[in-house]
Structure formats: C-alpha cells, structure tokens
Amino acid sequence: MCVAVAAVSAVFETARAVQKLNTTSERNASLHFDDREVATGNSIIPDQTVLYEARAWIPRNAHYRVVTGAQPVADETNLTRPYASTFATYFLMPRTPLANAPWIVCIGCDAKSLGKSTVVWTDNQGSSVLKVS
C-alpha cells in the first residue's frame, strides 16, 4: 500500500517538478547577459549602469565605500539604501569595501558633504561614482 502511494506520488511529483524546471530554464535562458550577471542586484540597485561603471573605474586592487543619503534615487526600492553596500561587496570584488576609501559609489548621497570630490560618472538620477581627493 505504502509502495503504491509512493509510486503514484513519485509520478505526479516528478511531472510537476519537470514542468516547473522547464519554466525556470526558459526564464533563465530569456535573461539578458547583464540581468543574469546582476541577478539579485536588480532588486537592489535601480540602475545596473552604476555597478558596471564602478567596476570599470575603480581599480581591481583598490578600496571603495558605498555611501547612501537622503537624496532621491530614481526607481529605488525599499532594498536599495539598506542593501546597496551588501550587493556592491559581492559584485565589485576583488575590490573591497573600506571606510574612508577614496572611491565612492554614491546611491542618493550628498556629494557636497563628502568634501572635495570628483564626479567620475553620474546618471543624474541619484547614482554616481565619485573619487575623493
């Protein structure tokens, strides 16, 4: 009896699992390369470009810090400000975060409060890459 139940369950569960995995594989295959690489970050960082610009401008062996502030950020989510630093730590490696690092990934920060800084890149919508001299 138990074997029969297990066998029937296995058939139904396998069919359900294969169907779900087919849907998952189609969804994954339809992702753009950038969306696949950024993945979770798409829910955190509103504009992927700031990540790629930070990766391009900040040297691989340099330190950086993520600074957030009260300035508006276009298309931000409720994950943006609390977790921008977390995602940047994953995405920008081997660059590592360090307090008072000269390179800054600014997400809604007030650049004037950072002292003498150069805007290396900005989307003019709240995200920028800065370097403090």
Partner: protein
C-alpha cells in the same frame, strides 16, 4: 557561461571523483573498477567532503590557496587512497546485485535522468538570485579565490562570518578550475552534487532495498519542492543534507555487519557536515 567555465566544472568533477574513488578503493568499499563506477556518485561526495575539509584546515594556516594547493592536495589524497588500497581491506558491503525487477530499476533510472536533465537546463543559465549566496557564500569564495586566504577584516564585513568555510573553499576550487568567478556556471557544480547524491543513494541501497521501494521513494525525494527550487543553488543547505544522509546510510550498513572502514567514511561525512554550515 563559457566553454572555459564548463571545462572548469568538468575538471572540478573529475578531481573530486578521482579523490573519492581513491579513498573508496583504499577503504575497500569499492575494490574493483566496476564497483567504483557504480559508486561514482558516492566518490564525488567523498571527494568533496575530504578535499573541502583539507582546504578548510589549510585556510587556518599561512599556506595560500591556489591552483597548486588544490592539485597538491588532490594528489596527496589520491596517493593516500592508493597506499591504503595496498592493504586490500574488503569491506563487507554486499556484492552489487540490485534487488527487485529490472524493469522497475530501469524505469527509476530513466525518470531520475529526466529530473536531473531538467535541473541541468534550469541551472546552466541561472543567475545568482539566492540572497544568502549573494550576501556571504559567494563573497567568501571570491575572497579565497582572489586573495588566497580569508582576510578577517573583509570577513567581518560579511553576514554570518562565523559560518565554517568548507562550501566557500569548494566554490573557490571550482572558480580556480574555471579561471574566473563565474557564479552562473557555478550552479552546475551544485548540479553535480545533486546528481552524485541521487546516484550514491541508489548505488548504496540497491543491494539491500527492493527497487519497487527504493526508486519511488528516491524519486519522491528528488522531486520535492526544496530540491526542485534550490537543487542547483550555490548554498550550503543541501550539501549538508547529502553528507548527513549518506553518513546515516553508511552507519546503518556498518551496523548490519560491514567493515569498520565504512564507519570511517561516515565519520568523514559527519566531519564535513560540521564544517559545512553552522
């Protein structure tokens, strides 16, 4: 996912299977080539447990993590297995004769292959959508790969810094063979772990459990939502479960009269499980 990364996954699998096969051969659990083949899944997980544990111990020393370290470790473990094999201890694991109708075994294998093939397609182009993987598992693995060690200052910036580093060490090994921190293709290493587990359970239990019971239960397990949803996710949870489940199976076989070497393998799995996740 590039050909280079795929080759890296293949080399990772090959290395782990070679280590595990040597240890199984040395312990007498798989004294013949045919049995090694039938227990290839168990060999992968034995290799993962052993190499992962050794790399974890080395991370506590000044020895830098690198491709050379991994290859030397693999060579040492394989050599140790071969030396043990000279003693030719024959564990009393049953001669492999699958119980139950062949048609049921064949059907079970076919359905398992279908499930694993679906998992492979789902995982080969999967992004890193798991929060824990993004927030600390993969950053730790990247730190080991890029810096050759776990920098306490960097670790303190990550969540769950106190978690044991077996999984990041294995991920870093895969990155080393891939030549890059390709978190997308890394999913295929976890696919290998899943396939290895299914094969290991089938290989270990087939002489003892009738196919009419073994395969429906194993397929139900392989089709559970947790495995369907996270079977190829770069997380530590399922690997921990694999280690514990196989340790339990091996302990039961020892209780039923198998050689004490099976207990040693089970102990290795339990040690790796404690090194897997807090």
């Amino acid at each position: 996912m590039t050909l280079h990364s795929l080759a890296g996954v293949f080399l990772t699998d090959l290395t782990l299977i070679a280590i595990g096969a040597a240890i199984l051969w040395g312990s007498g659990i798989a004294p013949t080539g045919r049995r090694v083949l039938r227990l290839a899944g168990l060999a992968w997980l034995v290799g993962a447990a052993t190499l992962g544990t050794l790399l974890t111990l080395e991370l506590m020393t000044p020895l830098p993590f690198s491709l050379a370290t991994v290859l030397v470790d693999a060579a040492v473990l394989i050599a140790a297995g071969c030396v043990l094999a000279v003693r030719r201890r024959t564990a009393s694991i049953a001669t492999f004769v699958a119980r139950g109708p062949v048609v049921i075994s064949g059907t079970g294998v076919a359905i398992a292959v279908l499930l694993l093939e679906s998992q492979f397609r789902a995982g080969r182009l999967a992004g890193l959508f798991e929060w824990d993987a993004m927030s600390f598992w993969i950053p730790k693995a990247k730190a080991i790969y890029y810096f050759g060690h776990l920098d306490p200052a960097f670790m303190s910036t990550l969540a769950n810094a106190w978690y044991p580093p077996l999984v990041p060490a294995l991920d870093a090994t895969a990155f080393t063979f891939m030549g890059s921190t390709d978190a997308v293709t890394l999913h295929l290493v976890y696919w290998s772990a899943l396939a290895a587990f299914v094969a290991a359970v089938a290989g270990l239990l087939a002489p003892y459990v009738n196919a009419a019971i073994l395969w429906p239960v194993l397929l139900m397990l392989a089709a559970t939502p947790i495995i369907t949803d996270h079977g190829v996710s770069p997380l530590a949870d399922l690997l921990l479960d694999y280690f514990l489940a196989l340790a339990a199976i091996l302990v039961i076989q020892w209780i039923r009269g198998a050689d004490v070497w099976i207990l040693a393998i089970a102990g290795g799995f339990l040690g790796a499980a404690s090194d897997d996740e807090a």
